[in-house]
Each structure stands twice: as structure tokens, then as C-alpha cells.
């Protein structure tokens, strides 16, 4: 039971942190968000580093690492909100790798892994996805449905229309069109997708905490930094609790995906719930900690709040994960009780 990263992972984390902090500073995030643009230069650079394919097998042009390494990158992406389709591309690829046919893998993975094409993810109801994380140039989408299946949609054959959401830091679209089923274990694919997303949300919560703490140390009222007031200090302590809860759950889910498939289903549901609730609460508190300034467009907390709100729905709400988790635990407890009676 050791959560420490190995040397490779520490190096990946260090590189990702330094690169994204430099290249996706908050004024850059604002620039892209306000103009509705993608950061193509940065995306090219990240693709050259192999980021979209970090968890994809080398047989398909990826780096051959796992979800833990992808989670490390996504956490930093959540901290810095670069205008690049990293989560959707990496996650679409991961879903195809997990549940796709050989033919589907050969057709799509090399392009996604190298970033030559980008991917989209979302949830479809009656064949239509209202809001997919989707760059305008995305080539392929993986859409999960309520019945636990997943379809692969070639976006060249689909109707893709931009959707203005409350989150301008990333591009979103509706998708409607024919697709083909991913024939493999789509539950495992979905669990990997929500685990990956929980890493991004951990980064979102983490940065919101950093921003709030820095602000309340600096901002003075009645001659005192507002962070010295316990009502404010305790709110910040609660932000750390939300962030670290999300982080614990997200690391565990990523590890389970790589090392112990039998634990993945519950771990992913826990990560989904903890990270969505953590990030929504923490980003909301971040705005509160900033006071009136926090509610303005000019301040940065709202980017993180909005991303948390979008991620919270991107792969379905947490009610589904709660229902699934309750079923799973109830079955386990029921089976143990029966064994005791025998």
C-alpha cells in the first residue's frame, strides 16, 4: 500500500508541471477562453512529447505507460487548463484500446496516440450526445450510453455542431450520427474514462485551493489578512480536504486500472464521486474566498468552477456511479452475510 511515484513518474510530473505552468499561465488561459481558440502550438508540442498516447501500447504508436502516468499529466492539465484536447483524445484512445476490436484499434489508435488526430468523449442518449468534449477538428468520438455500451463514431460521418457551454476553456460539441459498437468490455472502458477525468478534476481542485490560499494571505480587511479569520481559514482547510480526497480516490482508480482490474469498478465509481463533489465544492469555495472579486469575469477562479461543472456531467452524473457503487457493496456484504450463516 504505497502511493509514492517511481522515478519515471516523478520525472513525468516534474516535466508536466513545469511545461504547463510556463505555457498555460492564467493570462494565456484567458486569452484562449475569450477568443474561443485552441492552443495549437502547445498541442503540437504536447503531441511531440507523446502525451495523448502515454497510456497507449507501443504497438499502436503510444508510449506504453499506464493510467497512472496519464493521470499525472491530466492532473497538471486540470491545474493549468491549457486549451488543448488532451482529456478527450487520451480518453477516447484508452476506451478504444480497452474495448475496441483489433480493426478499430488499428484504424484509430496510431493517429490518436501521436495526436495526428484528436478524439472526443461524451455520453449519448438515443444516439445523440448533447455535450461532448470535442475539438472542432476531432476525427473520432467514443460515446457511452446508459445501457453500459459504447459506440465509436467516425466524425466525418456525423453531424457535429459546436455547443456554447458555460466553460469556455475547452471546446464542446453535440454529436449525432451512426456509430459502431465497441465490442469489448465497455464497462472497463468507461471506468478508465471516469478515472482519467477524476485526475483532471483533482488538478482543478488543487489549483483552486492554491489560488484561494494565495489570495486570502494577501487580501487585507480591518488591517488583517482575511486568511487569519477562522471562518475563512476553516473554509480553506475544507478545500484541502476536498482536494486530497479527490487525489486519494483518483490515484487509487488509476492504479487499479493498471494493476488490479478486479478493484477498478468500485475504485472508479469512488473516484468519480469524490472528484466531482470535491472539485465542485472546492471551486465554489475558491470564488467565495475571493469575495466580490471572485464573482467577476476579471478574476480567474471562475475558469476552474466552470471546468468542474462541465466535467461533472461530461460522462454522466454521479448518481449513476452512486447507484452502481451501492449495488456492488450491498452484494458484497450480502454474500459475506450468507457465508457467515453457512
Amino acid at each position: 500500500m504505497r502511493f509514492g511515484f517511481d522515478d519515471d513518474q516523478i520525472e513525468i510530473q516534474r516535466t508536466a508541471t513545469a511545461l504547463l505552468e510556463a505555457r498555460s499561465a492564467l493570462d494565456r488561459v484567458r486569452e484562449n477562453a475569450e477568443a474561443g481558440t485552441d492552443d495549437n502550438g502547445l498541442w503540437t508540442e504536447l503531441c511531440e512529447l507523446g502525451w495523448p498516447g502515454i497510456a497507449i501500447s507501443e504497438d499502436f504508436g503510444g508510449q506504453g505507460f499506464g493510467l497512472v502516468e496519464l493521470a499525472i499529466l491530466l492532473e497538471q492539465a486540470g491545474r493549468t487548463l491549457p486549451a488543448v484536447p488532451l482529456l478527450p483524445t487520451a480518453t477516447a484512445a484508452l476506451a478504444i484500446q480497452t474495448a475496441g476490436s483489433d480493426e478499430q484499434k488499428e484504424r484509430w489508435l496510431p493517429g490518436l496516440a501521436t495526436g495526428e488526430i484528436s478524439g472526443a468523449i461524451g455520453v449519448a442518449v438515443n444516439g445523440r450526445c448533447e455535450v461532448a468534449a470535442c475539438a472542432p477538428t476531432a476525427a473520432v468520438a467514443v460515446l457511452f450510453d446508459e445501457e453500459g455500451g459504447a459506440r465509436l463514431v467516425d466524425l466525418a460521418d456525423a453531424l457535429v455542431e459546436p455547443v456554447d457551454t458555460i466553460d469556455p476553456t475547452r471546446r464542446y460539441s453535440s454529436i449525432e450520427g451512426p456509430g459502431v459498437e465497441l465490442p469489448g468490455d465497455t464497462d472497463a472502458a468507461f471506468d478508465r474514462a471516469i478515472s482519467a477525468m477524476s485526475a483532471e478534476l483533482t488538478g482543478v481542485a488543487s489549483r483552486a485551493t492554491e489560488l484561494a490560499v494565495a489570495y486570502v494571505k494577501d487580501r487585507k480587511q480591518f488591517g488583517t489578512p482575511v486568511g487569519a479569520y477562522q471562518a475563512v481559514a476553516h473554509m480553506c482547510a475544507g478545500m484541502l480536504l476536498g482536494t486530497e480526497s479527490s487525489r486519494s480516490a483518483s490515484y487509487h482508480a488509476a492504479w487499479a486500472a493498471d494493476a488490479d482490474e478486479s478493484k477498478l469498478s468500485e475504485a472508479a465509481a469512488v473516484a468519480h464521486i469524490a472528484s466531482v463533489e470535491g472539485a465542485r465544492d472546492v471551486t465554489s469555495a475558491c470564488i467565495q474566498a475571493h469575495g466580490g472579486i471572485g464573482f467577476t469575469w476579471e478574476a480567474d477562479p471562475h475558469w476552474f468552477y466552470k471546468r468542474a461543472q462541465l466535467d461533472a456531467q461530461l460522462l454522466g452524473g454521479t448518481s449513476e456511479s452512486r447507484a452502481r457503487l451501492a449495488d456492488s457493496i450491498a452484494d458484497r456484504v450480502g454474500a459475506a452475510d450468507e457465508a457467515d450463516e453457512d
Binding site: M1, R2, F3, G4, F5, D6, Q9, V68, V213, V216, K217, T224, P225, G227, A228, Y229, Q230, A233, H234, C236, A237, G238, L240, L241, E244, S245, R247, S248, A249, Y251, H252, W255, A256, A259, D260, E266, A269, V270, I273, A274, S319, S321, R322, A323, L325, A326, D327, I329, A330, V333, G334, A336, D337
Partner: protein, 378 residues
Amino acid sequence: MDLTFSEEETEFRDELRAWLDANHPGEEPAGDENAEFAWRVEWQQRLNEGGWAGVHWPVEYGGRGATLMQSAIFFEELGRSRSPLPGNGLGLLLAGPTIMAWGTDEQKDRYLNPILSAEEIWCQGFSEPEAGSDLASLKTMAVRDGDDWVINGQKVWTSAAQWSKWCMLVARTDSDAPKHKGLSYFLMDMEQEGVEVRPLKQMTGGTEFNELFIKDARISNDNLVGGEGNGWMVALTTLMNERSGLAFFLQVRTRQLLEDLFGYANESGKIHDPCVADKLAGFYTRAEVLRLTAYRGLTQIERYGQPGPEGALTKWMWSSLNQDVTQYAADLIGPEAITSDSHWSYELMRARGNTIEGGTSEILKNIVAERVLGLPRK
């Protein structure tokens, strides 16, 4: 990142599980606190005979020399098997490690072994009526008189004092020195006239803790630990020990309460109510996050020798979760859960103390804000 146990750790766990299966202390005697305590003392004696009492104690002091991880496994398995904490828990977790760290060779020879065997029970005399979270403002005085110190004052929340032979006592030896600096740490014999123990009845009706009235009690200078004026430093060792192993025991107990609640929801069919399932899943998520965060804290200590932010968060997480789970149990189970002497009514009331004992949640939030986030103090 490897979230499995190593081969040695798995072996350790399996050996312990087998031992706990074969030696389980059985049902807790109901209703009588003296009998319950005697049962826990017997339990410690059995643990000691099996070599499991001082799991985290070094081999040279009669312990098993377990690693931090093994010690966590020990407390987790103890909880999982629904065994109680050993009767002399304060001796094992607090007094022993403090004496090992600060005591003289004579003190180690004299005190450590009877702690392990539970021949001598220990209590902790830190808190006072005017000094709860603000420990540095203790008023109990120790005045030198020849080879002895003479103690006068009052202590409160002293668990197990009614059964204790010894008390870890922090008292003021220099009233002119600044708050932290005038304190010293003593080992006080409880069996003397100057020490009066009065049980404090809790809202549960039980008397887990007591008040100590100390009037002209005497402590030999040989029983000073860590030197005069170093009481604050010595006490900190004790307080740091208090939180580590126990966290793993407590998180498992809460998890069991939650599993019992799942069991009840299964049997009653209430699990099919989506509102119930939704609530229970939320609690399970928090229980799982607590377990994982406790292990993250352990990784941090193993790697860097000191606890990271996780350590300060787990007690807060656990106490609020335990309260929420027991409160929801009362909702779900209904009248039985608020009937005197029912298991759930006890759990509900006992949980109320969780956010106070061992550091209130308010103080823990201050610690997180000041020491982890670096926020200014007012």
C-alpha cells in the same frame, strides 16, 4: 505506486489473521464497565503471550519490531476481526513509546515490560479544566522537595484512571518561564493518598474518563522524564504517537458500522430505495477515501520521515464520517436506534464525542490552515 501489500506484509497479515481467528476474545461483556475493562486487559495478556501486544515496539523492548506499514495492518486487522483495543492501550501507544524515546535506562527497565503485559495500567494526565486545546497553559504545579516533587492541581478527561497504576503527568515546574518552557513530564504513581479519581459520567451514561484531584501527591525525581523543563517536547512525542496507529483501527470500525448498515438495508429491502442507496454510496465513498488517505499519509512518513497534509486530515474525516453514518443509521433503523442500551443508540451517542476527543475538529482545521496551508494567525 503499488497499492498491494508486499510479500512480507501479506505473510504478516495472514499470520495475524490466523492468530486472531484462533484467539478471538468473543463477545464483550455487556453493561458492566469493570468487567469490560477486565476483559480488555485479559485480551492484552493473550495478545502479549502471542507476541502481538507491542507490535510496533522494538524487539529489544519485547515488541515485534513491526514497520509502520505492519503496524497499520495490525490495527486494521484488529478492527476487522471485531476485536477490542488492548486494555492498556494508552500504555502501549503513548507511555511506552515516550519512555523509549526520552526515558533513562532505569525507567525503561522498570516500566516497559509491565506495560506490555498489562500488569500496570497507564493513564494520561495532560488536559485540565482550564487547559484543553491550549495545553501550554497548564496550571498543575510540581514543586521540588528533596528527592521528590510535590504535585498540586487538577486533571480532566483522564481515560482509564480508575484502573491505572501510573499516570503520564505534565505539570508546571517553573511558573516564571514562558508558557511552553516551564513544563515537565512525570510518571506519577496513582496509588497514593494525594490522588483522588472521580469518574465523569458521559452523555452515553458510561464513565470512560475521570477527573483527577491531586493534593500534595509525591513523585520521586527518578520519575521525571526528559529532564526538568522539557515537558512540552516530551508531551509532543506522546501526542504524535496518539494519532498514527489508532487511525487505522478507527477507520475500520466505521467501515464495519457502514457494512452493518448495508447488511440491514439488504435484509429490510431498503437498499432498493434509491435515496437509501445514494446515501450509503456517499458514505462508502468517504470511508474509502479515508482509508486511502490514511495509507497515503503512511507513504509520506516512510519516504520523508514526517507526516504530510494527510495526517492532519484523517482524524477530521473519520470523526465527521462516523457521526454522519451513525446519524443516518438512526434514520434508517428507526425507533430501535434511539432505544436505550441498543447497539445503535450507543454508537450514535458515542460518535458525538468523536469531533471533540483527541483534538476538536476546530483545532484540527486551525492546524491544517496554519501548518499545512501556511495561513497567518490572528
